[in-house]
């Protein structure tokens, strides 16, 4: 019996070491673009998902009414070929392209567009609501739809919400719960490729959509895309080097040099406003944090004790840049300049001083401070996202920074799905995660309003002034004034010290130059080639002749395997021994 168990344990260990082996394609097989990534998918339902990996699938699966230019995110024709403004900017009339079809051959009409916008607004779909909240869609004819905003809307005419096929969704989407619980694996979309297979924890396969308007009546240039999940980023890097993948997203910064050395691999550090943060539980709703965190002085002290430079140097090898407050949009112009004494520059001495002055002293001499009345030692529950490649080391560093100023830290591990639940429940004190914002700052800003508490508000904090300004910027048509308002909002968030952005982190991506060509950076020159705001690459890529590499190089998998086998060798020996003892008894 034990032997079976040990064999099973071995098999499991080895399967972890030898994370998904992608079988190289042969000539008869469909032409496949193979993308490696390290972030799992929780749901492919575009109304509620939140992970960057999920957005990537939707970017490919769903066309949008207006598209975003690859170069600068400018609003360009998508499903709509043109639009006209009237009523002083409150109303826009869009004309759809001729002969639009869903991937299953059903016509895609103005009716479909209007149903999406009105239903998303009425049922308050999480990922659409901030865009459509004030908008009413009216069908003029099959190819004409009119959007009317009840208030001035600086985002119009941009309308980039994912449009789901009503002929599939209408019977399902009867209310918020049934809509958001739908698995959305019907495979009907309007983008260049549509979902054909989803294995959670493994891969997503998407096949070419012959009805995609962007092909302009021609055959799709290649047959399918496979997004392959890797538990271990090094295994992913090795798979790219050995031509088992065409591109990878989110490789460890430490592998950049090795990848750059390969003449057939192009390395990209794509900037699109993405950042990582340590969030502090602000305690606005249920799930209370440690009481000390409700005092802004303690939160400020924590901010002063976080050494961002150390992280940028040791974990990003200088590829990231420091950040003082949240980055709400793809353009870094939205980030206010907070410097000098206003900034929380690493200074543990100052952090200790703030805590001393506020009365949080270590009264019993155990190295951990207590509340001013001497009770309740300050020990924080720091949630570590086991699906995040940097969350482990950042957790260790955070523990070190906090112990340095007399605050204890208990590390608690959660996978991505569990962590999202923990954040919603508020049963944490701090955690480390990141965001890739949208082009427009509105959705990211909405996440820190009172309305998003218990949902996307992962600071569990709100400020009435912030909420007021949020509504103000939402209706401000003067871009300069809107920028000012956003800057003021982000300064409020910064001073509340409830969200400690660490750095603007680039998306580290690499692609093979000998299999596909036509990769597009969004935005131009600085952006990533995939996992961007509208991911334009997939429709532009063309396969180059017959791909395939030699599969050579150092077989580190073997080395890893040997370590595991050696460590488990004793167990096999032992189990054999035990099983015979069992039999003889």
């Amino acid at each position: 019996m034990r032997r079976v168990i040990t064999a099973l344990a071995l098999a499991l260990l080895v399967s972890v070491v030898f994370t998904p082996a992608v079988v190289a394609q042969d000539d008869a097989a469909p032409v496949t673009l193979r993308i490696g990534l390290t972030q799992d998918w929780e749901t492919l339902n575009p109304t509620v998902g939140f992970a960057v990996s999920e957005y990537e699938i939707w970017n490919v699966h769903y066309a949008t009414l207006t598209d975003k230019a690859a170069d600068d995110f400018a609003t360009i024709p998508g499903l709509a070929e043109s639009w006209e403004e009237s009523d002083g900017g409150l109303t826009y009339t869009y004309t759809l392209r001729e002969g639009l079809m869903w991937s299953d051959g059903e016509p895609l009409t103005a009716e479909d567009v209007a149903w999406n916008i009105n239903t998303a607004r009425d049922q308050e779909w999480d990922n659409m609501i901030s865009t459509v909240v004030n908008i009413e869609a009216t069908v003029i004819d099959d190819r004409t739809v009119q959007l009317t905003s009840s208030v001035p809307d600086p985002k119009l005419p941009t309308m980039d919400v994912y449009l789901v096929p009503p002929h599939i969704w209408e019977p399902i989407a009867t209310d918020y719960d049934s809509t958001t619980q739908y698995d959305a694996l019907d495979g009907v979309g309007s983008g260049p490729f549509v979902i054909s297979d989803f294995a959670k924890g493994q891969s997503v396969t998407m096949v070419a959509n012959p009805n995609y308007w962007g092909w302009e009546g021609e055959e799709p240039p290649y047959d399918q895309i496979i997004f392959q999940l890797f538990e271990n980023p090094d295994a992913m890097v090795a798979a790219l080097q050995q031509s088992q993948l065409d591109a990878i997203h989110g490789f460890p910064a430490g592998s950049a040099d090795a990848l750059e050395a390969d003449p057939d691999i192009e390395v990209i550090a794509g900037q699109q406003g993405g950042f990582d943060e340590i969030a502090i539980n602000g305690g606005a709703v249920e799930g209370q944090p440690h009481p000390a965190l409700l005092d802004v002085n303690v939160r400020r002290a924590i901010s002063y004790a976080v050494d961002k430079e150390a992280v940028i140097e040791d974990l990003w090898f200088g590829l990231a840049s420091p950040l003082e407050t949240m980055s709400p949009g793809a353009d870094t112009k939205w980030i206010p300049d907070i410097s000098g004494d206003a900034a929380f520059t690493y200074d543990p001495e100052r952090a200790r001083q703030i805590l001393d002055d506020a009365g949080y002293l270590d009264s019993d001499g155990d190295g951990v401070r207590e509340m001013p009345d001497g009770s309740n030692p300050i020990v924080l529950r720091h949630a570590v996202n086991t699906d995040g490649d940097l969350a482990g080391p950042i957790g260790d560093l955070f523990k070190g920074w906090m112990e340095d100023i007399g605050i204890g830290v208990e590390l608690e591990s959660y996978d991505q799905d569990a962590l999202f639940g923990v954040i919603v429940d508020g049963t944490y004190d701090t955690f480390f995660w990141g965001w890739v914002p949208f082009v427009d700052p509105d959705p990211m800003l909405s996440y820190f309003t009172e309305a998003e508490l218990g949902n996307y508000n992962d600071a569990n904090w709100f400020d009435p002034r912030f909420d007021e300004l949020y509504l103000e910027q939402k209706e401000e048509l003067d871009p300069d004034r809107r920028l000012e308002i956003v800057h003021e909002m982000l300064t409020i968030l910064h001073d509340a010290a409830v969200y400690i952005p660490m750095y603007l982190g680039p998306d580290l991506q690499a692609y093979r130059t000998d299999t596909f060509e036509g990769w597009v950076r969004q935005p131009a020159e600085i952006g990533p080639v995939m996992f961007s705001n509208s991911s334009p690459s997939y429709a532009q890529l063309r396969p180059i002749g017959a791909g395939g590499g030699d599969g050579g190089g150092v077989n580190w998998l073997l080395i890893g395997g040997i370590v595991v086998v050696v460590a488990a060798g004793g167990a096999v020996l032992l189990s054999r021994r035990r099983s015979t003892a069992d039999e003889r008894e």
């Binding site: 099973l8 260790d396 460590a567």
Partner: protein
Amino acid sequence: MTSLAMQRRKATAIRVWTQFRSSRQGMIGLAVLALFVLLALAAPLLADARELNPVFARSQGNPQWGTPGDFGPLGTDHIRRSVWAQFVWGSRVSLFVGLAATVLTIFIGSVIGIVSGFVGGKTDGVLMRITEWFLVIPFLPLAIVLASVLGRSVWNIIFVIGITSWPSTARLVRAQVLTVKQRLFVDRARSLGANGSHIVLHHILPNVSGLILANATLAVPISILTETTLAFLGLGDPSSASWGKTLEEAFVNGAIVRNAWWYFLPAGIGILAVVLAFTLIGRTLEEIANPRLSRQR
């Protein structure tokens, strides 16, 4: 307890020790184990615990990914921590979890085995069906599920290992109890009016304790390996630096691609050595407790 019984037990202990001493494999195992126990006990003398703190390590100017040549004796990791400190302090966690989980395993297994074998009848049937049920559940998936449900602390890991690995001990002990139960001295005690608990404590237990001890020694390495496996799969206690966690961190943070052998080899060899030591000791004890094993070879 009569002095006669005491004398007899003392004599048994001496006999076991004499036999053990004559076994080369047993003595090698004991020596290796003693070395690691010493290492664990002397951890505060051998390595500064602050070296486990990446912030302290950085403030000391430790190199990142330092080789054993750059930073003695075993180099540094991705966040500048001393690997030697991780190895020394990790031995404590690994040994502690291994031993504590074994105590739990052996306790559950022995109680169920003795009750099942001694009481017999329906009780035996029910207990053995439960045991078989645990035996047929794939061990690692169950441990993984339990570890993720219960949360990741050292005590939960111990609990998970204990609750998943007792069945073979229970079967082994039950079999031994069944043979001992048939022996004349048990009948004699019974006819003299001894009740069940007296017979179990004074006649059965002493006669199966050798087997339990041998079994326990063999259960320790399995517990250590299980802890390593769970930690390697990311299900260990994130706050305690066990060898399994060192392996996991080395793997996740790219030590293998970098050929940073000094990061993962010490922990790997440590696990191998301790597991081997316990196995050698356990085999020797098993042969002494159950001489048929050595005669048949």
